[in-house]
Amino acid sequence: MSGFFENYGFLIVTIVQQALLGLSIYFPLMAGQLSLASIGFYSLGGYVAAIMGTHPYFAPWRAALGFFMFPLEWLFALILGVVLGIAVGYPALRLRGIYLALATIAFVQVVNVAVLNMPVAGGAVGIFGIPQAFESRLDYIWFFGPLFALAMFVVYRITAIGRGLAFFAVREDELAAGAMGVRTTANKVTAFVLGCALAAVTGAMSAPFLNTWNARQGTFDASVTCLAYVLIGGSRSLWGPLFGAALLVSLPEVLRPLKDSRMILNGVVLVAVCVYLPQGLMGGLAALRTRLAAGRGGVA
């Protein structure tokens, strides 16, 4: 077992870290909002941690707080995520569907250009030598694991409680939701901000995990990858982001023996999932279960 974790531990930690980004896209999707802003918040959260972890200004803080500097970084990232999320969410969420997606992609680009031009963020080189929280990178599961559990708990509770229905009502029919007393704008912004906050804290945890932080963390490619986790995993199941991240992160590793042809097979698998499982892996699983149940019912 310990051998297994040594071999695959880093992969597992990365899967959980990436699944967190998938979940951050899942939150606004619960209210029907397709936002790709997550990666921008992830990038900013990472810079918050990187700057607080390396900048001389924070040296006395680090000396005084020791390990507790990390939770403080998360807190600052969280506050930034919430405040900026509200500021971006209110205007952006007036747009719908593909227009919202485009606006949030633009936001990611703006963040990218902004950090490239901020001396404190280290320009194109970024920030190096971010202090480590643990000796081994595998131990970062103690960061990402609890955050993932918390995020999953929140998603699960939202699907279980009456208050969560407002999100789904907006997703199903925004106009009808308004006519049924649902505060549509407030709900869209809330779902969006939950995603922003999660992405920002994930970024703050990821900066020490990855040791360096630069503008490449927040690119358009990365946004699309996060969206792919949700779409491949299943956008209607809270397990979708995890399964999608697991598949997309591990597939290139599993296929490594195939050398150059692995990227082709990687692509083939993804296209096959999209074509044959339009509801993603979890959607396919649910369909299979209903079919099996129906089969049993037919025999009985």
């Binding site: 009502a169 308004g178 049924m180």
Partner: protein
């Protein structure tokens, strides 16, 4: 008796088309008022103006003492003005139960954090809401399918679910946009009785758009007639039926009309 709903000189145009033209109306508490008119007369637009889904160009709407002319739909709904849609707008991917529970939370006090933490207050609120939703579904005869998805319902049942959902808002005024459209004859027959029944039970005032003339005549205390956005008649069903302007609107020129 003071009016529950008072619309004054409401006007709305789309491009060059005057969909609703300076319509004024006072709906008294407890009455069932019919709204009829040929296709494209502006009836649905009038409902949209009352419920905040379409902005009025000019005019005002007072509901239950509140000026709701430029209020948001959710604010209007929470004041007790509920509606159904001509083209049925259910939350298709949600269960019947959840469709009704969404609206039942209109006066909810507990928020997202309380719900996530599962505070006693929020659990009680959810339980009460579920019970009430179940009662409403039973009232409209859908209690046997509460966990089905709304999208799986046949047409007539969708209309009933939409009414149950609107009732969950605990409305004072219920706007029904062609509730009989698409129903089979026996369902149509039951609908008038059903509307009368819920009006008594929930102490409602009802404003309904309907093309089915016998139903309007039998059900409504007063009828208002729209044609090309203008109100051309208003009065008892008998008076309106004899009104030359109404006969002209339905028979003159236009081939489509009351059916």
């Amino acid at each position: 008796m003071s009016a529950l709903l008072k619309a004054s000189d409401l006007r709305r145009s789309f491009g060059g088309l005057m969909a609703v033209c300076d319509v004024s109306l006072a709906v008294l508490p407890g009455e069932i008022m019919g709204l009829i008119g040929p296709n494209g007369a502006g009836k649905t637009t009038f409902f949209n103006l009352l419920t905040g889904m379409t902005r009025a160009d000019t005019g005002t709407v007072i509901f239950d003492g509140h000026d709701i002319t430029s209020a948001k739909p959710e604010a209007i709904a929470s004041l007790g003005l509920a509606r159904t849609f001509q083209n049925i707008r259910l939350f298709g991917g949600l269960t019947l139960m959840d469709n009704v529970r969404v609206a039942g939370r209109v006066h909810a006090r507990t928020g997202l954090l309380g719900g996530i933490l599962g505070t006693p207050a929020s659990r009680r609120e959810d339980r009460d809401n579920t019970e009430r939703a179940y009662e409403l579904l039973r009232l409209v005869g859908l209690a046997d399918r509460v966990e089905h998805l709304a999208a799986s319902l046949p047409y007539g049942d969708r209309r009933r679910l939409e009414i149950a959902r609107a009732l969950a808002l605990s409305p004072k005024l219920l706007l029904l946009d062609e509730p009989a459209a698409g129903l089979n004859p026996s369902e149509k027959l039951g609908l008038a009785d059903f509307i009368r029944d819920i009006k008594e039970r929930f102490d409602l005032t009802v404003l309904l758009i309907e093309h089915n003339v016998p139903m309007v005549m039998g059900l409504c205390d007063r009828v208002m007639v729209l044609s090309f956005g203008q109100m051309i008649a208003m009065g008892t069903p008998e008076a309106v039926q004899r009104d030359p302007a109404v006969i002209e609107a339905y028979l003159g020129g236009d081939t489509h009309g009351a059916a």
